[in-house]
Structures are given as C-alpha cells and as structure tokens.
C-alpha cells in the first residue's frame, strides 16, 4: 500500500503548493483547536483530505484495477485463448510495478505475508472446498494423499539435498549456504500451489479424474509444507536436526493435518446446526457460511495447524446440510459471493506477484536459479512416475502414461511459495534474497511456460476432456442401483469393502446426523428424489424462460409424450386427443395478455423490508392468490410434455428452496385448506390412478373463453389415458394465470445465477 501512498502523497504536495491557504484552513478545522489568534477566513466550500480515507481508498483502487484487468482480458478473445489469465495478470503487475519504479517512488511490498495468508488466500480455498466434488475426491483419496504427502516430501528432500550438493561445488561461490537452509528452500518450493493450479486448469477443461488428482494434491500438501517449513526454520538456527526432531516432526505432521481437519469439521457442524434455525431470517444465511469458515481458518492458523485443510473440511462438511436448510436465494448468494471473492483474490494475487517481482530486492545467481528450475522439474517427474508405479498396484482404474504426464506437468508453483519465502527472517537467512529470486523465477517458469503450453499439449496428447453431458435420470437411477447392488455383493462375499463402509456411513448419516442438522422433515429425502425434484424444477424454469410456455405441440413432433409409453386401455376418443391449433393472431393476443399481466402483478408486490422477507407462506391467508399460482405451475408443467408428477410436498428441500423468499409470487404447493377452495390433484403418472386433473370447478367458475393453451382436459375420474386435453373454452383463465405466474419465476431468474447447472454435478469450476 506504500505505493499508492507515495503516489497520492506527491499529488497532495502538488495540491498544497497550489492552495496553501485552504489546506491550512482545513487542518485547523480538523484539529478543532480554538487558537487565540484565530482569524476568521472564508468557509472552505471544498477541501481535500486524503489521509482520512487513504487506506480503504487504496485497497478499493487495487481491487478495481484487478477487476478491470479481468474485464479487459475477456474482451480480447484471441489473447485469452492463447495465454492463460494468470500470465497476463502477472504481466500487468510487472507493468504497474515498472510504472511505479519509473515514477521514482519506492515500490511497496504489496505481497505482505499477513495480507496474503489472512485475506487473499481464504476465499479461494473456501470456494474450492465448498464446491469440492466429494464423490471423486473420496474415490481417489488414497492416490491424492500419496501424491500430496509422499510426493511433496520426496520433492523437498530431493531438491534441497541436491541443491546443497551443487552449492558445495567449487566455483559457484555458494558454499556458505548450509544444508538446513537448502532443505528449507526445498520444502518451500516443492509444494504444488492450489491458486496456480486452479487458474490454469480452469481453462483447459480436463477430465475429472486428473483435475481432482492435481487439485486435491495441491490442497492436501499444505500440511506437509507447514510442518517442514516450521521444522527447518526452527532448527536452522541450531544448525542440525536430530532423529528425535524427525520423530517430533512426524507427530507434528499428524497433529497439524488431523487437527486442521477436526477444527474445520467442528466449525462445519456448527454452521450446519445454525442453518437449521434460519428459516425466519433468510437474509443473513449466507453470512453464516462465510463467517464460520473464516473462523475455522483463523482458529487453525492460531494453533499453527493447517488452515487450508480446516477450510476444506469446514466447507465440505457443512455443505450438504446447509444446502438442505437454506433458501434458494441464499444458495445462489453463497455461490455468487464465493466465486466473486475467489476470483478477485486470485487476480490480486497474480498482480501482486508481478509488482513484488519488480520491487525486488533480487540477488541473481545463475547457478542457483537454473539448478532450482531444472531440479524441480526432474524431481516432479521422477516423483510422479515412481509413485504411480506403486499406486497402480492398488488402483482399479490405472493411471496411464498420459495421465502421469499431465499430473507431472500440472504441478505449478505459485504465490504461497513466495509468501513463505518472504516470511523468512533476514538475519537468520542471509541468502533470503537469493531464495526469493529463485522462487520467483520458478513461479514464472511454471506459470508461463507450463501454463501456456499445457493447453496445446492436452490437445496434442488427446487427453480425455471433461464430459459436458448432463446427468440423465437413468444414469442417476443406475448409480444408486449399482451402489446398493455392489454393497449387497460385498455382503454376500462377507468382505467389508469400500461399498460396505460407505453404505454404513450413509445410514449413520441419515439416521442420526441429518436429524440434528436439517430442519423440518427434509432429512428424509433420498438423493434420487432430490435429484429428480431438482431436474423437474429446472425444466419448469426452462419452460417459463422460453417465453411463457406457449408451445405448439403439433409443431414439435419429435417429442415423445406420456401417451406413448402408457399401455393403452381403451381406444382413445380422437377428438380429445387433438391438441388445439393456434392461429398466429391468437398467439399474439395470448402473448400480449401474458405480458400485461406480468406488469400488473409486479406492481402489486409488497414493499421490501430489509429485515424480513416474505413471511412463511404457511402462515399467511393468501390462499386464493397462491393457489392460482400453484395451478398455473401445474399447467405449465403439463404443457411441457415431459413431466407429469405429483407436486413435491412442501417440505421437500428443493421445493422449499424454490420458495423465492423475496417474492410473494412464490412457486410452491400448499395443502388444500378448505372446501371452498377447489383443489388440484395432479397425478397423471398412472393410468390406473383414480386421481386426475380436476380443474373443472375452477375453470367453469371463471367462464373463460377462447382456446386453451394446450391444457389438459379435466377428465372424468374413472377413465384416463394419461394426459387428456382440455376442451376449448377454458383458456382465458389460464392465460391470466400465465401472466401472474411468470413474474414469480422471472424474479427467480432475474438475477442471472452463475449457471443453471447442478452444483453437485459440477466440478469445482463453473
């Protein structure tokens, strides 16, 4: 921050020269003194007080710069497709640093370790942890741990040891570098950096397995790095490490990693428990997620445990329970905020890296730096190949050579290494500047060279890319089916394998934990049903988005409707099957009515109160208003020809989340309250079902005119052929309702969420 301070200090001086009287006057006023010889001057209408707002102003300026840079890169598509964003940002940082140096000011040490570890890093890690795809992570946890722990240890000792050997060679003028500082340097530089990996891998869309391997490794090696760093730093003063220290180091490692995870898990459970009670104060729900996670991080850092692992554990533990409890809008808020903060943090980190490079001080030593770079590459390759050889003996899905290459090549170093180096004490480590130079060179090498070339290499080697296909319901059914099947087979064999324990954990989770942490009856909902409701909700939204759902079914012949799969009972009467045709004019009329109703309803919204959103729908006496919406929704759903489902119970998590908290035109079901209000039973799924659409009362009351919107007929209760057509003449009401209903979902859609995809199916990155 010194940088901006300097720039603006000089600006201030310049201004002072111009308007001395004003400044003097202002300082008088600011100090509130009453001087005896105070002479009254003209009241200063406009004055400049920079110092007052200096620090926040500078911070905001940096954030603004970072965001504008990010904007700028995406406006130049050619550039962003060749060069990864991280490289461009470092270049920007270099330029800014260069500008400052040119201006003659001293470049400030912006990448201050405190700032980095306490402010810039947590959002990125929380974002990664919260959206961590648990299933692939857990399936590969053995491999990931091997790479993270054994791989990092190997890297650290290999690089450190060989560097020491090189330093001892005559002629390099490096013989004053001891073994322990070398090992310390090795441990700093050997850790794969999550920020850099995220930044680069985000753009190459590699398949899920490789992504989770490299990324998981970068997250979990934090514990190893922390322990090695502290170990060597402590004993560099003493000059030697005894075997006792090594044993203590191992114990320390276990404490650091397991302790970090434990701290994170505790805070995660607290957050989940808190979210159980937030149904009346939906506005601050996202806050709990952020605050609890940040406190987990700080608490872990307080005890010198692994803050990164705490954050990951916290996010991963709290997510399933919190998501079942919070509203849809809070869910979107959490997602948005996390993405936003992590994006800004990442941008800032890379820019600061550039600035810090210019800041120096540097002590360039050809031998040291070049040997570092080469050794890092070599040790990474040897490490990965060696470990894969061992790991493949235990894996079912073996890692091929291509996979190994990508894992090795994707081991990027980043700002964490730099910050750790920066933390070193100058007195204890006189070669600190040389270390920093080498670290920066290594970071530049990995980010620029490896980062830029990994994308073409991935294409060249034809590595499997991320599958873009959406999860279909058949796949979901069979995933669950397979889980149970394999558990059963394992039980028959009497072997307590992975599936057995996973099944046990799930049952334990369902029986005890979910009861405590999830509000209401939602904890009973099995995953398949949750998935199905989500899909249904999404399709309903898509339907509305596509313009009010006025589809002409006859014009879209490729759709398969429910009629086709229901076994025929009686020959269907032809007239009832025919879907109404629209003339162009009629369609326009319908659209106009929908639009006008949209506007009308918007004006009817309640005023927005910051403290309470719409009260719980069950309490209000809005039955008519709400029932209309409900019916509209059912209509829309039927028109889609896809889903014919009894509406989800009000307590189902997805339906609750669908309660758009700030919107009175909420999208949910209500249990029928009285006889006066006609109810809608929608159960078209079964041909034998006695229930069918019963909207006759409602519609006849309205006495609508015009043609139906392809609505289904209120059939007689005894016979039905699946979906039935509504006779013409009940359309008007439907149209109005169409208009009324749209705002509900329009509001939901009006803030464009990051994407409509299922987060569970998503890998880390949108």
């Amino acid at each position: 921050m010194l940088l901006s301070r300097m720039v603006f200090a000089s600006l201030l001086q310049y201004l002072e020269r111009l308007h001395p009287s004003q400044i003097a006057n202002e300082s008088c006023l600011a100090s509130h003194h009453v001087h005896p010889n105070y002479t009254k001057k003209a009241f200063p209408v406009l004055s400049l007080d920079y110092h007052h707002i200096q620090v926040p102003f500078e911070i905001s300026l940096w954030v603004l710069l970072a965001s504008l840079m990010k904007l700028g890169f995406h406006l130049i598509p050619q550039l962003s497709s060749i060069v990864p964003e991280s490289c461009l940002l470092i270049v920007v940082g270099l330029l800014v640093g260069g500008l400052i140096k040119l201006a003659g000011e001293e470049v400030p040490p912006v990448l201050d370790s405190n700032l980095f570890f306490l402010c810039l890093l947590p959002p990125i890690i929380l974002d990664a942890g919260y959206f961590l795809p648990i299933r692939p992570f857990m399936e590969n946890i053995g491999t990931i741990l091997m790479f993270a722990v054994v791989g990092t240890l190997w890297n650290a000792f290999f690089v450190g040891g060989l560097l020491y050997a090189v330093c001892q060679i005559e002629g390099t003028y490096l013989s004053q570098v001891e073994l322990l500082p070398c090992l310390l340097f090795g441990s700093i530089i050997s850790a794969v950096d999550p920020v850099a990996v995220l930044a680069v891998f985000e753009e190459i869309h590699i398949n899920e397995l490789l992504h989770i391997l490299v990324f998981g490794e970068s997250l979990l090696n934090d514990a190893v790095t922390v322990v090695l760093y502290h170990l060597f730093e402590e004993y560099s003063g003493a000059g030697e490490v005894t075997p006792m220290d090594v044993v203590l180091g191992v114990i320390c490692f276990l404490i650091v990693s397991l302790g970090g995870i434990a701290v994170g898990a505790i805070y995660g459970i607290l957050a989940a428990f808190t979210s159980r009670f937030t149904s009346h104060t939906r506005v601050i729900e996202p806050l709990f997620v952020f605050v609890y996670s940040y406190m987990a991080y700080l608490s872990a850092e307080m005890f010198h445990l692994s803050g990164i692992m705490a954050l990951i554990a916290c996010g991963a533990v709290m997510r399933p329970y919190v998501e079942a409890n919070i509203s849809h809008k809070s869910h979107t808020t959490v997602k948005y905020f996390l993405k936003m903060w992590s994006s800004v943090s990442e941008t800032l980190i890379f820019i600061f890296l550039g600035v810090a490079t210019v800041a120096g001080p540097h002590a360039w030593n050809w031998t040291f730096v070049s040997v570092t770079v080469i050794l890092c590459l070599v040790s990474r390759v040897i490490g990965v190949v060696g470990l894969t050889f061992i790991i493949n003996k235990f894996r079912i899905v073996k890692l091929t050579t291509k996979d190994q290459f990508i894992v090795a090549y994707g081991g990027l170093r980043g700002a964490i290494a730099f910050s750790l180096g920066y933390l070193l004490d100058k007195n204890l480590f006189p070669m600190r500047t040389m270390f920093l130079t080498a670290i920066i060179t290594e970071i530049f090498f990995t980010v620029f060279v490896q980062g830029m070339t990994i994308k073409p290499l991935v294409d060249l080697l034809a590595v499997k890319k991320k599958q873009e296909a959406k999860r279909s319901i058949n796949e979901e059914i069979h995933t669950q089916f397979l889980d149970h099947l394999l558990t059963g087979i394992e039980d028959i064999c009497g072997h307590y394998g992975h599936h057995h324990w996973k099944d046990k954990l799930n049952r334990f989770n369902k029986k005890y934990i979910k009861k405590c942490l999830i509000a209401g009856e939602r904890y009973k909902e099995p995953q398949l049903i949750a998935f199905y409701h989500k899909m249904e909700f999404k399709q309903a939204i898509e339907l509305v988005e596509s313009g009010g759902g006025v589809k002409l079914p006859s014009a879209v012949p490729s759709q398969v409707s429910m009629q086709n799969i229901q076994p025929k009972k009686l020959p269907p009467p032809v007239a009832e099957r025919a879907l109404p045709q629209f003339t162009k004019g009629r369609e326009e009329e319908i659209r106009k009515i929908l639009r006008s109703n949209l506007q009308k309803t918007r004006q009817r919204l309640r005023s927005y109160n910051r403290h309470t959103l719409v009260a719980d729908p069950f309490e209000d006496g809005w039955n008519d208003f709400i029932l209309k919406k409900q019916r509209l929704i059912e209509l829309e759903k039927k028109m889609s020809n896809y889903l014919t489902v009894p509406g989800a119970t009000p307590d189902s998590p997805t339906m609750c989340r669908a309660r758009l908290a700030s919107d009175p035109n909420a999208f949910y079901n209500i249990k029928a309250s009285s006889d006066g209000v006609p109810t809608i039973q929608v159960d078209l799924a079964s041909p034998q079902s006695p229930d069918s659409v019963n909207m006759l009362n409602e519609f006849s009351k309205r006495g609508a005119t015009g043609q139906g919107l392809g609505q289904r007929e209120g059939a007689d209760r005894d016979e039905d052929q699946g979906l039935m057509m509504k006779p013409a003449g009940k359309g008007e009401k439907g149209e109005e309702e169409g208009g009324n209903k749209n705002p509900g979902l329009m509001r939901c859609l009006s803030d464009p969420g990051p994407s409509n995809e299922d987060e569970e199916d998503e890998p880390f990155l949108p």
Binding site: Q467, I477, H478, G497, L528, M535, V560, I565
Partner: protein, 218 residues
C-alpha cells in the same frame, strides 16, 4: 478335507479358473465363503443367502438374491430360475463383478460392458421377455426407494415414468401420438447407459482380498 479331496479340488479349481477367469487364489477364497454360506454343503439355496443379516438393510435384497438363481446369469440361454446353485454357478455370477484388466482391447472392453449391462438388464427384466416394460421399471425404482418411506413411494412412479420417457425420447426420437413404446430393449439399454462407465464402476474389490478379512456375515 482329506488329501485326495484337496487334490481333486485343486484340479477343479484350475478348471474353474480357466473357465471363469478368476485366479486360483480368488477361487480358493470364494470357495471358503461358499462353504460358509452353504454350511458345508455342495449347493447353495435361497435361504442360505437370505440368512445373511447384513443384507437386511439393502433395498435390493430380493433382486440380488434372485439374480444368483436366474438362469440367464448362469449362461444358460433359457428363462426361469433354479432352486439351488453349485459352486460353479456361484462363480459365474460373481464373475460379472470382475474389474477390467488394464490393457484390454476396445473389443474386449465392449464385450465386458455388454456382459455387465446384461446382468443389470436381467435384474430389471423380471419376466424374462427381453424388454423392460414400464411396470417392471416402476417396480425397480420402487424397490430402490423402498427404504425411503411414503415420499419414496409417491415419487417412485413419477421418476420411473420420467426415466422411461427419457429412454423413449433418446432411442425413438419422434413418435406419433398413437404409437406405443413397448419397453426398453437391451440395445436401448446399452444406448442410454453409453456414457456410464460401467466397466470401471461395476466391480467389487473383494476379488483381491485375502481370507483374513472375510467375516462370517451372518
């Protein structure tokens, strides 16, 4: 077991190994387990399998047990079930859960996929007519959700319907309102589960186990 018996079983095991593709060690372990379950008899009946207590919590219990006695899984090209199975049949059913070897050709991989998917298909197609009808699919989903209480039952129908609809849409595409989609054939089944990497998912690691980890399971 006497020496002569063990010699005979060695020979048998080698024979079985060749035919089913398991290793001798795996066959040995599985044989021990078979003896445990069948109470040292030569054949295994449904009651023996049903008595495994760990299976009680499994929603697919009945289907899994049936799968062991289904003739289609025993490489006999006829429909129906058998009452008891011998060790060889036991192995045959288990062989569906072998993992894929590391270096196999595309052909072999495809064959493996078909084999495993055929097993799943047979589990769904309870009347052995070669297609999974809506009723059968519904029953399958209902079983899957049977431990979920009333919520499960209501939506099970809807889920099965939506799934069926999806299959029909992907495999048949355009259908006139009068056409009727009879059911999922095996080819359709293969098609909809194309992206489902079953050859890596449908395996049980137990096949590399040693007997020390075997529990009684009763």
């Amino acid at each position: 077991m006497g020496a002569s018996q063990s010699a005979r079983t060695e020979h048998e095991f080698q024979d079985l190994a060749d035919r089913t593709g398991f290793s001798l060690e795996q066959i040995g372990n599985l044989n021990k387990r078979f003896r445990q379950l069948s109470k040292n008899e030569e054949t295994l009946s449904r009651q023996d399998l049903a008595s495994i207590s760990a299976l009680d919590n499994n929603p697919l219990r009945a289907q899994i047990i049936n799968a062991f006695f289904d003739k289609r899984n025993l490489r006999q090209n006829e429909a129906g079930t058998v009452q008891v199975i011998g060790f060889e049949e036991f192995l045959m059913v288990m062989s569906h859960f072998r993992p894929a070897a590391m270096h196999i050709t595309e052909e072999e991989r495809e064959k493996l996929r078909r084999e495993k998917l055929r097993f799943l298909f047979n589990m769904h197609d309870t009347d052995s007519d070669g297609t999974i009808t809506l009723e059968e699919y519904r029953r399958a989903v209902e079983e899957l959700l049977s431990k979920a209480g009333t919520i499960g039952q209501e939506t099970a129908k809807a889920i099965a319907d939506a799934a069926m609809l999806e299959v029909a849409s992907t495999t048949r595409g355009k259908m006139e309102p009068d056409e009727f989609y009879e059911g999922i054939t095996f080819e359709n089944f293969l098609q909809i589960l194309k992206t489902f990497d079953i050859e890596t998912r449908m395996h049980v690691r137990f096949l590399n186990m040693d007997t020390a980890t075997m529990r009684c399971g009763k």
